[in-house]
């Protein structure tokens, strides 16, 4: 019989579980703001930029985090500056800037011939190789980013929903957006070594779009996205122990599964809608004439 508590006897696994739940939660939280800002591709782009920075930093003899931070903050700033001038959409700016920075890193590697397995783990993630220092950094970044979203929630939502009105009402929308980009870049950098550059986009966007399918209320979407991100990351990490699989891809599979389930639930809920008439709650199929106005398939007597 399988001992379900067996993985918890290993210190590396406990560390991995803590990291995956924290990153799943904070990426889920940031993901909501990202998709609503129309920046779904930013996670993918910035992780590539940070990867380029990590390589450049390594070649320059700097700490991995220092290179990644400088490079991804620079990328965030350039993307922000380009997309601020309305002619170019943020996704186009992300596509160009982050790939260029990533390419620069790869170019340096090919020129200096200093490609190591260390960078391979950045590409695909290795949650089990998390050091004590990484753990402290991840915990600190989770707390600080959580505080950022908590304290600036009102400003962020208003700015992303209706930027001009927010500006008129006195919100410094430019600073808020730039700060948001830097916080995002920081979350991506600390997630890279655990989840991997190539897999990170799913952990950021997946929980948020799943939560979006379940609710039309912003606070509920945020809450659900954190829960889905944390639970899927926990499940993926836990399952990877028994499946003897890589933790990053397993987490991504669980996040995708979560999206599949919520998508099916959303379709089912739309067809088979619960509601009440005169205090009597019940469910039955509806014919939708458009998104929100519907007619009963079976008329009430």
């Amino acid at each position: 019989m399988i001992d379900l508590l067996l993985p918890f006897q290993y210190e590396f696994f406990i560390k991995g579980i803590i990291v995956s739940v924290l990153l799943g939660g904070i990426c889920g939280l940031a993901g909501v703001y990202i998709i609503l800002r129309g920046l779904s591709y930013v996670g993918h782009g910035l992780s590539h930029a940070a990867f380029g920075g990590a390589i450049v930093g390594n070649i320059a003899g700097l700490n991995y985090y220092v290179g990644a931070i400088i490079w991804s903050y620079l990328a965030s700033f350039v993307i922000y500056e380009i997309s601020k001038r309305n002619k170019i959409k943020p996704d186009a700016a992300i596509g160009l800037v982050t790939t260029a920075i990533f390419a620069f890193g790869v170019l340096l590697v090919s020129m200096t011939n200093r490609y190591t397995r260390n960078f391979e783990s950045l590409l695909f993630g290795n949650i089990l190789a998390i050091t004590e220092q990484d753990l402290y950094i991840i915990v600190s970044v989770t707390i600080l980013s959580g505080a950022f979203f908590f304290l600036l929630h009102k400003r962020l939502v208003f700015s992303f929903f209706d930027n001009e009105s927010a500006k008129i009402s006195g919100i410094k929308t430019s600073y808020i957006e730039l700060l948001f980009s830097f916080v995002l870049a920081t979350i991506i950098i600390v997630s890279m070594s655990s989840i991997g550059v190539t897999l990170l986009a799913s952990v950021i966007v997946g929980p948020a779009i799943s939560a979006r399918l379940l609710s039309n209320n912003f606070s509920n979407v945020v809450f659900l996205s954190i829960i889905i991100g944390s639970v899927a990351s926990f499940s993926g990490m836990y399952a990877s122990f028994f499946l003897d699989s890589s933790s990053g891809p397993t987490i991504v599979m669980f996040i995708t599964l979560g999206f599949g389930i919520t998508a099916l639930y959303a379709v089912f809920k739309k067809i088979y809608h619960s509601h009440s008439h005169g205090g009597l709650s019940h469910s039955h199929p509806h014919l939708h004439t458009d998104e929100h106005r519907h007619e009963h398939e079976h008329k009430h007597p």
Binding site: H153, K154, V157, D162, E164, S165, S169, N216, F218
Partner: protein, 246 residues
């Protein structure tokens, strides 16, 4: 601290590309408490003018100032409520009516992310004024055009602004919705609020406003509707020299 006496625009020009003015040499003086409708064709610069007044754009030339003789500070700026064209709104954004209106009071306990009881009651009162009681939890996309417009009006009103600026608030609305919005605006104006709006609706809105500005890149005429909404002014405003207004 006092309040502004009038809003003054002196030689204001603005554009989006070099040497191409969208509005040029605008001189205006709008006293506190006035209800002003700005009429003009699409692309005449009405929205740009409103955004300049709101402070989103900085004029290329000229000055925009709120004249206030008994204010303590030279940096006095009245509280401005802005209602955008609802066509610019992302209707997929997951926000309820209550959350949209709460945005207007973002600086009330600004570092707490939730809506407290006091704010909830304030939102309830605002919705009552707008005839939207009980709509708090509804998603904004689930409302009709007229209701959506009133929600955005509510977001501006919860700030209790000195000046209310609305960009085409009745465009695309049916007769009843249009009348409801106009009635609300008239009541607010009667209570002392300065109202400045842009509109395409000459017959139902501009014609019934106490003050009208015909605008196309610059001010063509301004005054009471019976003095301003005349054939020659409208022909100049809409650029239809061979079109006969009946």
């Amino acid at each position: 601290m006092g309040s502004f006496e009038y809003l003054k625009l002196t030689g204001v020009s603005y554009g989006f590309t070099y040497h191409n003015f969208v509005i040029e040499g605008v001189n205006l003086s709008i006293p506190k408490g006035r209800f002003v409708s700005i009429v003009g064709p699409s692309g005449s610069g009405k929205t740009t003018l409103l955004k300049l007044i709101c402070g989103i754009y900085e004029p290329w030339n000229g000055d925009i100032e709120y004249i206030c003789n008994d204010c303590d500070s030279i940096f006095y700026h009245p509280s401005v409520g802005y209602v955008p064209q609802i066509e610019t709104i992302d209707w997929n954004f997951p926000v309820s009516v209550q959350e949209v209106i709460a945005m207007g009071s973002w600086n009330y306990k600004s570092y707490l992310p939730w809506i407290d009881k006091k704010l909830k009651n304030q939102i309830k009162d605002t919705l009552k004024i707008l005839g939207l009681s009980g709509y708090e939890k509804r998603h904004i996309r689930a409302l009709s055009g007229g209701e959506q417009q009133r929600v955005f009006l509510g977001r501006a009103l919860i700030r209790n602004p000195d000046v209310l600026i609305l960009d085409e608030p009745t465009t695309g609305l049916d007769y009843v919705s249009r009348e409801k919005i106009f009635d609300i605006l008239k009541t607010l104006n009667n209570n002392g609020m300065t109202v400045i709006l842009s509109t395409h609706d000459i017959t139902h809105i501009a014609n019934r406003s106490p003050w009208v500005i015909c605008f196309n890149k610059y001010v063509i005429a301004e005054g009471r509707p019976q003095d301003v909404l005349k054939e020659d002014n409208l022909l100049k405003t809409y650029g239809l020299s061979d079109y006969k207004i009946k």
